[in-house]
Symmetry: C2
Subunit: 282 residues, 2 copies
């Protein structure tokens, strides 16, 4: 049984007759191929990466498992359409909290055509991307049974300033997420979600160690997805916070150089999360 | 007694009636203020930085000591002109080997005016800067008494490809530096200059640890200068390889974010030097 995902914070979304991803109840996430070269580019990346023996398991785990491509009835009712069959990252989680951070101050690659470059550059300058080294593309945070999911408008989120982005990273691990600027995020899950030996910060540092080394791929316009399950934590049965990289329509060959654009942005995100963990533990 | 420096690999150079830096024999390097706002900007940076108590000594040592500004007879004969009085980094070294690497894929800051941005972007794209995360602005390597100093044309160096840049980093620590592409650099000083507990790599890693933390300054168009003294090494009296940051006409306030542009480029340089040390020690 295919259905529109309940929990998606960024990217094209199905529903209302639009083409978007679908999920099934066996833990698969089906992403329709983007119609231009981005679609074939992403298939090519997943195909190459999934059989690339140069990628150690401790880094491969940060990528969704790839199950090939499948022709499925498209969500827009247009008939059979090719989809990437991927691991559904939030499958089985109730009320997951999700944050999508697009990594890298630069979303275009050096060899990009002039008009594409200028289009991306304009957006990078309009958002906090250039200053921050990343931008938050979307998030949702579960408050409680009464308040439910807090999911700010993603156009507002995407045009966040540096300070707003720092605030969003605090709201993400708070029990009182809100758009109301008078409500100070309590950061009550900072130590359990960001901190700890298996927390998001520890995972980001492992990812960073790979980016300091690997010269195989450069990831432009790729996101780090952070996911955790607040209810499980509240019930003392933390299913574990998790990070995953997603969106590989703009991955290019690293040609023997590290991906300094991604690494720089990742370090910026790490620094901000470190500051939250530090200030919450004192 | 002021004179034109013997060893300068990048930047404006005195001589031939041009305005450029001067040195004296007490270890000072006098850099004429650039005539536009870059000059006052660099003075403002040195003034603020030299009294900035937030900078621990283990990182401050990577910056030239600042001795204020001085009115001196300009090298172009135009009369008294304001100069920055700085530590002369190569003072006392005979036949120093020097490499100037301008760090950061992006040489312009987010708030830059459109025409300045486009001018810089064009140059970043024409050089290996965008791909590498840094570009080599100049170098000189002392071969031996017979061959003397090898100092490739800096316009050639600045337009180096990724592979040429890697090669230049190898030539920098070789006993047989040459423009002749048939001569393979022997990397005979890799372990003594790049490697070791006080070598250039160890110093770059300390610098990196500061850039992972500090959110005070963003360094655009700033260089890491690497200096060592081959003759001392050959005579078994290694004076020590040294790195210094230079050129601060485009430093801006970090506004609470790390300098991910500089850090990314620095990590790329570190990776390349690590590869040279590793391949030379096996």
């Amino acid at each position: 049984m295919l259905k529109v995902p309940d929990h998606q914070v960024a990217g094209h979304q199905a529903g209302g007759g639009k083409l978007g991803p679908l999920v099934d109840d066996s833990g698969h996430f089906y992403k329709p191929l983007q119609s231009d070269e981005r679609g074939s580019h992403e298939v090519a990346f997943y195909t190459a990466f999934s059989t690339d023996t140069r990628i150690p398991d401790q880094f491969r785990k940060f990528f969704p498992v790839f199950h090939g491509t499948k022709l499925l009835e498209a969500s827009d009712g247009s008939g059979l359409y090719p989809h990437l069959a991927l691991e559904d990252i939030v499958s089985g989680r109730t009320n997951p909290c999700i944050l999508d951070a697009k990594i890298g101050a630069r979303t275009w690659y050096p060899q990009a055509a002039e008009d594409y470059l200028q289009k991306c550059l304009k957006k990078d300058r309009e958002t906090a991307c250039l200053e921050l080294g990343f931008r938050i593309s979307g998030l949702q945070v579960y408050g409680n049974k009464l308040t439910g999911l807090w999911k700010p408008d993603r156009h507002v989120i995407q045009s966040s300033s540096v300070e707003d982005s720092k605030l969003a990273l605090r709201k993400f691990i708070s029990s009182n997420p809100s758009t109301d600027s008078d409500i100070k995020p309590d950061c009550s899950f900072a130590s359990t979600v960001y901190g700890g030996p298996d927390g998001i910060l520890a995972q980001l540092l492992v990812l960073k160690s790979w980016f300091e080394e690997q010269t195989f791929y450069h990831f432009y316009s790729c996101s780090v997805l952070m996911v955790y399950d607040k209810e499980s934590i509240l019930q003392g049965e933390n299913r574990g916070a998790q990070i995953k990289l997603v969106d590989f329509a703009h991955v290019i060959d690293g040609r023997g150089v590290i991906d300094h654009n991604f690494l720089g942005g990742l370090c910026s995100l790490i620094k901000m999360i470190t500051d939250i963990v530090t200030s919450s533990s004192t």
